[in-house]
Amino acid sequence: MVKPGTLILTVAARLLLPLQLLFSLFLLLRGHDEPGGGFIAGLVAAGAFALYLFAFGLRAMQAMLKVSPRDLIGMGLLLGVLSTVPAWWVGDPFFTAQWWTIPIIDFKASTPLIFDIGVYLVVLGSVLTAISALIKTDHENQPDPEEATWNP
């Protein structure tokens, strides 16, 4: 159903994707102090990739993303779980937040931030998994020649 290649869409997607991704990172990092955070940023990023997907098709998006969306989910969960470990290490109760300041750039690193990045990745991965699944069933149902040429 999604015919890649409408001119306005492709141009817009190409231009918007980096902006949207930057914006999502911005939302992610400022989330602790202003509206934003992992959930929202993840959704924004997912929207960006979805737009790219509609413009250039599934394979292009997968090539763009480099990893499978499922691996994003896995990485996200891993980060979420890993963020519980530092507290254990210093002897605090499970999941106690730990804060470190990285000296030169004066950046506040913390386990909540790691956790939030985990949330970001899980949300992004889940949404993309669902959308690619649906697009894929579409292609398989309607093997038209144009899309069939994508296959290896």
């Binding site: 159903m1 999604v2 989330g31 602790h32 102090d33 202003e34 509206p35 934003g36 955070g37 992992g38 959930f39 929202i40 924004v44 997912a46 929207g47 979805a50 997968q62 090539a63 993303l65 480099k66 990893v67 969306p69 499922r70 989910i73 996200g76 979420g80 519980t84 109760p93 499970f94 999941f95 937040a97 804060w99 506040k108 913390s110 909540p112 931030l113 956790f115 939030d116 985990g118 949330v119 899980v122 949300v123 991965g125 889940s126 998994t129 669902a130 959308i131 699944a133 649906l134 697009i135 894929k136 069933t137 579409d138 292609h139 398989e140 149902n141 093997p143 899309e147 069939a148 296959n151």
Partner: protein, 775 residues
């Protein structure tokens, strides 16, 4: 020590990798680990023997009063030593026994995990932690019994073991909960310090019953003994380790552990000594009927577990001394005998003792080991088993309740066990040579070193029991309230226990002589056996299936709307009843709304209603979208910027998703009759009205102080964040968020699974295009 256990679990996880690297030597490599732990434990021996208790604190979930704190006293130390030492030997043995088995790696994973669970169980100080390890041993035991998973009998036995022990585990959990409430602590050390108060607590009887159920099922006490012989479907190393030396002793361990806090009452003494004595006699009696060497040993294990329980029930200083000695003796000789049984099975290709004979000349070294272990089992001098039995008789003579009945049962068990010991060693090794499926010879060293060491220890401790004085005194004092100082000697002089021993020796030899006759005589009792506890279990399982089928037919008729209507009507009834009859609701109606807010609410309603009446799918989706965006607007209006953004983004993605799906589907058709639609409308309106009334009464009711005030105050000082909502999500309630992440991931995996299923089905057709991920 906690780290040792956790590292052990890690080792279990990487066992397949090790198997990949070391191949046939993996078992030996892994065995080094428990051996190391054992050496470390040995280093603690001076402190333990001096009567000290080591408390290794480690907070886990302090908010719920759950800790990973371990404590090591004599009892824990003894158990931990048994677990690690026998564990190391069993691993070495298993490496040879299962050499070349395609699932050897899996076996090593599970047995190492079991070993660590068991270690955690005997070291844990916290009831919850103990319970977690307890269940872990049940699960690993299940996996090990069913190790030969292609054998239906093994699968059935595994499930049976799991149901019985996990069922008991549930009772135990209830018991622990009551114990925690009654003692106002989850720490065993603290609970044991307030035994007096616990025994007089109103919950004492129910909690004791629950704890006993848990312990009895785990330790295969009558009438739950039937699962243990069936568990012999497991590979022999498992039987040697789990089902004789360690796991089945977990129940006994728990009883010993709780003896200071719960023991000594009339209920405790009578239940434990009677159940124990009955188990003893039942075990010995059933053992003598079998010709399968593993079953013989399994039933004699049941007998031994009964003995231990009985000794705990009697609870005098002498009985507790006997408990420790018998525990140690049994672990040593039974571990060795099981491994010998495995060797016999491995070498001859049969488990039937009547089919073997005259093997002593073919496998002389095995014969020596078997003989030493069996003499200990028989309770003959100069082995540790003799000491255990003498002390047991002495303790029984001290019993306060039902002394003569217990003595009779114990005596029966003793002479039958002697006969069993004779059968196990004399049948295969002595007499005339019989042809067996394979021609046996002594096994490789790996398989013999374990049993030889265990049998050797039986002999050394038997000859020089003074070596154990310290350990036995410390352990027995830990279990009992008063100080016990044991002085073990092999020769007690001529006294009543010795006379009983001699009598049981004579009777035992008699039974062995006429074993074939005894067996066929007992075979006539078969119909009676068919109505035993195992038949009850079978009946119960069948009944469960029948009831499940019946209620599934009744409740699940396959129409989702019937379920929904049913659920909703019940909900309406219950909530409505609570709302109007239990409270007298007041419905405030002050309308301080601005015009734009009213319009937003109106848009929501309009969107929702339009979605219902539209015949075109796209229009319906658009209408839902309108509603969603109005909700986002509401979030904006009422100070929830994060929610507004999230809602907007989700709405957008939802529309994409729906459009992707819906336009392949046909137009809505009118499927229901007008009557049906009217009925649904009535139900829907009733639910809607109830929700409104409920909300109004909640809004009009008394407001409790907000629990989030703490979070508002501390968001910046503690959480270092200015967005309170985000701080709650990633810091204050991060655990909840983690759970939600998993839910989301699961939904995505579900989506992916459906997609994969489709793709594979599609791949089957030739010429179909298929796509795969590159990365």
């Amino acid at each position: 020590m906690q780290l040792a256990v956790l590292m052990g679990f890690l080792l279990a996880a990487v066992a397949p990798l090790l198997h990949h690297w070391f191949g046939g030597h993996t078992a030996r490599v892994i065995a080094a680990y428990p051996a190391l732990v054992a050496v470390w434990l040995l280093g603690l021996a001076p402190e333990i023997l001096a009567g000290e208790t080591l408390l290794l604190e480690w907070a886990w979930v302090p908010g719920l009063d759950i800790s990973l704190t371990f404590f090591i006293d004599g009892l824990s130390w003894l158990f931990a030593m048994l677990i690690t030492v026998i564990g190391a030997m069993v691993l070495v043995y298993a490496g040879e026994y299962l050499r070349g088995h395609r699932d050897l790696a899996r076996f090593l994973v599970i047995i190492t995990a079991f070993m660590m669970s068991m270690l955690g169980l005997v070291l844990a100080d916290n009831l919850v932690t103990l319970f977690v390890f307890w269940e872990l041993t049940s699960i690993t035991s299940y996996l090990l019994i069913g190790f030969n998973h292609t054998d239906p009998e093994a699968r059935k036995s595994a499930l049976q073991g799991l149901f019985v022990t996990a069922g008991g585990g549930l009772a135990l959990l209830a018991g622990f909960a009551m114990l925690g409430v009654a003692g106002d602590s989850w720490s065993l050390v603290e609970l044991n310090a307030q035994g007096e108060a616990l025994r007089e607590h109103a919950l004492y009887a129910p909690l004791l019953v629950c704890v006993l159920l848990g312990a009895f099922t785990k330790s295969a006490q009558f009438p739950f003994h039937f699962w243990l012989p069936n568990a012999m479907a497991a590979p022999t190393p498992v039987s040697a380790y789990l089902h004789s030396a360690t796991m089945v002793k977990a129940g006994v361990y728990l009883l010993a552990r709780l003896h200071p806090s719960l023991g000594g009452t009339e209920l405790w003494v009578i239940t434990l000594s009677l159940v124990g004595a009955l188990t003893m006699a039942t075990g010995a009696f059933l053992a003598i009927q079998h010709t399968n060497i593993k079953k013989l040993l399994a039933y004699s294990t049941v007998m031994a577990l009964g003995t231990l329980t009985m000794l705990l029930g009697i609870g005098t200083d002498g009985a507790l001394t006997a408990f420790v000695v018998f525990l140690l003796a049994h672990s040593l000789y039974k571990g060795a005998l099981f491994m010998v049984a495995g060797i016999l099975d491995h070498e001859t290709g049969t488990k039937d003792v009547t089919a073997m004979g005259g093997l002593r000349s073919l496998m002389p070294r095995t014969a020596v080991v078997a003989a030493v272990a069996a003499v200990s089992l028989a309770g003959l001098p100069p082995l540790l088993g003799f000491l255990g039995k003498e002390l047991m008789f002495k303790a029984v003579l001290e019993a306060e309740a039902w002394r003569w009945l217990i003595l009779l049962l114990a005596f029966t068990a003793a002479f039958l066990t002697l006969a069993v010991a004779a059968v196990v060693v004399l049948r295969p090794f002595a007499g005339k040579r019989r042809e067996t499926p394979n021609t046996p010879h002594d096994p490789p060293g790996d398989m013999l070193v374990g049993p030889a060491l265990l049998a050797g220890l039986s002999l050394i401790f038997g000859l020089a029991p003074g070596l154990l004085d310290g350990l036995v005194s410390v352990t027995a004092s830990g279990i009992g309230a008063s100080e016990v100082s044991a002085h073990l000697t092999l020769w007690h002089g001529v006294n009543l226990p010795l006379i009983l021993s001699l009598a049981s020796l004579a009777l035992g030899i008699l039974v062995f002589r006429h074993w074939d006759g005894v067996r066929s005589a007992l075979g006539r009792l078969e119909p009676l056996m068919a109505r035993g506890p195992e038949a009850c279990y079978e009946g119960m399982m069948r009944g469960l299936v029948t009831v499940a089928e019946w209620q599934t037919r009744m409740l699940q008729n396959g129409y989702i709307r019937n379920y929904l209507v049913m659920t909703l009507l019940v909900l309406l009834g219950l909530v409505g009843h609570a709302l109007f009859f239990r409270h007298s609701p007041s419905f405030p109606f002050s309308l301080d709304a601005y015009f734009h807010e009213v319009v937003t609410a109106g848009l929501m309603v309009a969107g929702a209603v339009t979605a219902c009446v539209m015949r075109s799918r796209l229009a319906a989706v658009a209408a839902v979208g309108i509603m969603g965006f109005s909700i986002a607007l509401t979030f904006v209006l009422f100070s929830a910027p994060d929610l507004a953004i999230t809602q907007l983004l989700v709405e957008t993605l939802t529309v994409i998703l729906l459009v992707l799906v819906l336009f392949r589907l046909p137009r809505f058709a009118t499927l229901s009759t007008t009557m049906e639609r009217l009925r649904d409308l009535v139900v829907a309106c009733l639910v809607g009205t109830m929700v409104t009334l409920l909300m109004l009464s909640v809004l009009g009711g008394e407001r409790l102080p907000r629990i989030s005030d703490y979070m508002v105050e501390n968001s910046q000082p503690l959480g270092h964040g200015h967005n309170i909502v985000n701080v709650i999500l990633v810091d204050f309630r991060a655990l909840d968020t983690l759970g939600e992440m998993f839910v989301l991931a699961l939904a995505a995996i579900g989506v992916h699974a459906m997609m994969r299923f489709h793709a594979e089905e599609y791949d089957a057709k030739p010429s179909a295009p298929s796509e795969r991920y590159d990365g």
